[in-house]
Symmetry: C2
Subunit: 275 residues, 2 copies
């Protein structure tokens, strides 16, 4: 048996390897340790997406997998026809964290998709969007990260578009009241009440692009089920700028067509020809 | 001597190699041929930035040069201390073109920088911004592309930030009235009057980041002087969405620290270690 102290260390180690992607054990560790672990990867230069595979031997899929996310969602990507129910209970408060790589909220909920139950672990944001639709990007994207009891991962992706009339999404407004408390990496805070009905209804209403890709952050693990809502939800300028001011830029470049050579291998092969 | 017909063909070929970057001969060719040449490169997949070097032997610098643009503008980049005067005469109309890779306006003007005269050839836009400031991106960036008589290239970069009160930049508003006419690649149209005083005054007022980088599109030629205004100009949501709807996504990823290994070579070397 591990002592409680050793168990905590083990949980933190797993969390560090998983980065911003999925850490179902994290809520426990976070309560015991208010300091949030900061991601060791970035979005520019040698620790950016070109260098992710060099940061750890565990990150090899980032440079070699042929099923990587995000992607450009075009006509080649089919729309989901499977049954989906998204249940995210409203909460009186939640833990909001700045992981350096993203702003993340520890969450609970269950998504039933194609007859299987997936447990929500957290949701987080990217700016600009990671996925594009017919080549067009969006200013903000939310990822609701789930895992089934057999380990299968599923992410619900929600795009946000700017509005000219100030309309915005209630969940973003609720979070925006607290983000100044997590302006620097490693900070965490407690939010006020969060309501998820708007998000859940939007995803359930569809249509949803469906494909099997990967985590968009190291270790870029493949085999993740992606369901991305085709229609964006609204975000107003003030809310968007609040998120951008803290996240700055945290979108991985779009990957190659699913099943085609990883773009880093493609670029490397052209380098060899050139020399 | 070349016949006029042969000369036209020659000019068009040069234009095609230069893509959206610099084509000082283009106004002549465009008048003779209303169809605008469409760029052969893109911003996703195998023809995106990872594949640019593979599109033509002329594009080798995209994958191997250590002085590539865009970059993250941080404290390591110094501010310009040289004298600068930007003169862009107002025009009653101008040619607005959709090159597939960008929306571009053929322009005239002269920038004097550090005692040398540079002739403005065109300006064009990127969304999201290509440069970042202290890691943060902006929704739109304009590039005013110049060349001196000795061939030296200089680009004035202007970032645009979204406003909550609807404030915007007059030049963007003037162009936004015409962009629906160039919604598809290869289209061109004549604008109404364009005024440049606001842009020129903003760049002249500074402060300006100064560094020597490259064209941000193939052939990624190095040795380009960049002057990027530290403060953004305003853009409102309506105008921004109009540009984004057409350009969709046309920003190259930020490059490695100046003088450091090209990020594609870095990624390739880590791939070798991993295999």
């Amino acid at each position: 048996m591990l002592s409680p102290v050793l168990l905590l260390v083990t949980v933190l180690t797993v969390h560090s390897v998983n980065g911003a992607c999925l850490h179902d054990d994290a809520p426990l560790s976070r309560r015991a340790n208010p300091a949030v672990p900061i991601a060791n990867f970035s979005y520019t230069g040698a620790t950016g997406p070109f260098g992710w595979a060099g940061l750890s031997p565990a990150n090899g899929a980032c440079s070699t997998s042929k099923m990587q996310s995000p992607i450009n969602l075009d006509n080649a990507i089919s729309m989901s026809k499977s049954t989906l129910t998204v249940t995210i209970p409203d909460v009186s408060h939640a833990e909001l964290e700045n992981l350096g790589s993203t702003l993340e909220v520890v969450a609970n909920g269950t998504t039933h998709f194609a007859g299987k139950a997936y447990t929500l672990a957290q949701f987080h944001f990217h700016t600009p969007s990671e996925h594009r639709i017919a080549n067009e990007y969006f200013p903000l994207e939310g990822h609701f990260v789930h895992q089934a009891s057999d380990g299968q991962r599923l992410v619900l992706g929600v795009l946000f578009e700017l509005t000219t009339d100030g309309t915005t999404t209630a969940l973003l407004t609720a979070l925006s009241h607290h983000i100044s408390a997590v302006a620097t990496p490693g900070k965490s805070t407690q939010t006020s009440a969060l309501h998820f009905r708007q998000i859940a209804a939007h995803v359930q209403a569809g249509p949803l692009y469906q494909y099997t890709g990967s985590l968009t952050t190291p270790p870029c693990t493949a085999g993740v089920i992606w369901l991305v809502a085709q229609k964006p939800l609204p975000v107003n300028v003030k809310t968007f700028l609040g998120f951008k001011k803290i996240m700055k830029f945290n979108a991985r470049y779009t990957q190659n067509t699913l099943g085609q050579q990883n773009l880093i291998q493609l670029a490397a092969s052209q380098l060899t020809h050139a020399q």
